[in-house]
Amino acid sequence: MKAPTIPLLSIRQLAAVFFSAMLLLGLPSATFAQSVESELTAGTIQVGQAVELRVTTKGKSQGQLLDQIEVDGLEVAGTQKQFQMQMALPKFGVEVATVQTVILVPTRSGEFTIPSLRVRLDGKVYKTAESVLRVTPATGGRVPVLPAIPVPQRGTVTPPVTTQPPQTSQPTTPRSENPQKSYFGEMVIPKESSYVGEVVPIDLRFSIDANFPSQFSDRPNFSGEGFTVLRTTRPSEVSRDVNGFEYSCIVFRTAITAAKAGTLEIPPASIAARVQVPVQAPSSDDFFGGMLRNFGMTDIREIEISTDSAQLDVKPLPREGKPDDFAGAVGEFKIEASATPAKAEPGEPITLRVVVSGRGNFEAMGPPVIRDAEGWKVYDPSENFEPSPTDPVGFNGSKTYEFTLVARQDQNATPPVQFSYFDPAKEKYVTIEGPAVPIQAAGAGTPQPDATADQDQQPAPEQTPAPQGNDLSRDYAASDFQPLGWSPVFVAIGASLAAVWVIGFAVLMARKYAESPAAKRSRKIKSRRDALKKLEASSLSDGDFLDGATALFSEIFPHKTPAEIGLTAEQTENLDRLFAKHQEAKYSTRRITPISSDDKASYLKTLHEILSTKQ
């Protein structure tokens, strides 16, 4: 016969016994200070956005909220209650922290005062402080408030470990088809149809039974073909009451843009989550299992929550009325322009800042068009998108384009800018214009053809990138580094003209000189010398010699006798004899005696002397 055996306790069971004993020993001597606090998770929100009022109590037992919030303009979208027990050393007692959360959704703007609420804690009633909530009007594109969920049949919610593998639920009937589910996903699309390029906001909601602490991954998996997904916000966590069951719900907000017309199939979105579920008893020993559950011993289970797929009817943008400069913007926008600096030197660039703000597909749209850019050099703009602080998804905001302009001519204003978009609400194209901004820009030269300046005439509707070669010159006129003034043409023509001019000037000067008294005197001297040379020729007859000699004297001293001109006696005598001989030859009827060579020499000598001294 076998001796009875004592069953061995597992470590978990031993730990449960130990903690139970410690609690029993420590509780009587433990004393705690109670505290009640309340806070709003945000002081200012927009209409339709959810805010949480958290009432936190600490004491020996769970706190209980006794009042309900009834404020006109605030709807209670859900409540949640969480508590946490912790050892309080050195007194070795248990402190219970309770957080009761009330989800409030404002239905109108204004300032709301949430009155103080009564809380029962450890047998006493406490009051929270009043809270003030400011609600601003909703900007465009807000995500709708959580839709009402039909009340499912009340049923037992079992821990996830006991449920079937997760299934997606219908967005509007998450639990009605299968009330056994402890978690479900929803995809909320506020409209059934859209235009190509239009931004459609989407809510992705994932709910888990609030009885099971859970932890979600940072981002859901959501993508598909035929559309682009904008940024997904950080999740907001709310508590929902569905048919009396509390659910922890996280909401991701995002938006999609359809790329083509037709029926768009939007695949399900999914998210991974970890759920804390109570441990199950390792055997049929329900005593220890119950103890472990009572002391918060839990297991971690990893699950995936998915939404259903959805459909969206995507309509093409109309061809009618499509502006030439339409570059794919769909939404509702306004435009503003400014320029710096106000005064620019020649060649100094001016920055034209154009801000397109509103809501729409900022990521896909092209820049505004600069009109009447003749006389400007326009460079492709830089762009920077700033989402609205109240819309982290990115379909509300402003996009700033900075054009660099350089004046080719003097300008007193920037060229106007123009922006065209399709407004899906009005279902038509709209063109808005930013006015010319007054500036003073000094330019230079005549306008040159500029490919980028013609963008108002030939816009790129699909925002095709401009070819790189647009910023190259196509003018290859041959030139040279030699100064133009030294170019062969100038030199050749200049040299020819200079030669002609110099020759002409020389001729002019020669003529002027020829007409001068000195030139005339010189010519006379020369002619007299020539005449004297002729007289020296032996071939002359005596008569010709006498005629020539007396004529030469008379030319030098007209109407004067040799005695009147102050000659020497010898010269006077020679000349007298010459004149006498000439008279004889001229008037005598008889033949004159020939002139001797000595006489001729003396006459010539005298004439030489006269020519060299008296003229």
């Binding site: 230079a444 190259l472 003209l497």
Partner: protein, 249 residues
Amino acid sequence: MKFFRPSSKPFLLAFVLVATCAMAEPVSDAISAYESGDFSKAARDFETALASGPKSAGLYFNLGQALKKQGETGSAALNFRRALMLDPRLMDARISLSDIERSKGIPLLPAGWKDQLIERVPLYPLLVSGFVLFWLGAFLWLVLAFQQSRNRLGLVVGLVLALLGGAIFTLAYIADPRFQWRDGAVVVAADGVSLLSAPAERSPLVAKLPAASSLRIIRTSGEWAYAKLGDGKSGWLPQNTITELLPEK
């Protein structure tokens, strides 16, 4: 004897066409490379076109653009300046050069009268008009003088025209960037260069010149060049850090 007989004209035409095509091929290759984003090949082809064919402001500008895309700002600025030497009114080159100078923090000096003149008035017509006016006046004066005319007004008009034309021609000649920048150079060293007070490496620093800075070379001594900046500062710097604007030098 005629230099070209009538039968030689087709050969002359063919020669011109061949020469044109020889330049056109590297240019079209360079543009294709540039459009496809291969800026290195584009720069090489533009350099080939400039080496094998006639110089042009457009080719220097394109070469500058290709170099600028590669981040070679000093060489890009050099070629933009060369383009502006050949065509002072090429605004695209002026703008690109201004972009580089601003990005390098090179101060914008106020434009002198020569720069303002060539920016506002086309240089070649100015030279031609000065040339024509000068010779018109000179020959008017000469003819009237020849005729021993007593038309003093005509003589004065001729003289004034000649003086005016000569002045215009001289102004245009002096303002011509080919003449004005004949001793110019650009810092092409990527990291810039130090302008020193003496031609020795450890000399006191006069100024730190970033790439693309322009200067005038006053004289050279060995491997050093004595240069003057637009703001009046002067000093020595290694010759291998700069490139002269005149490519023939």
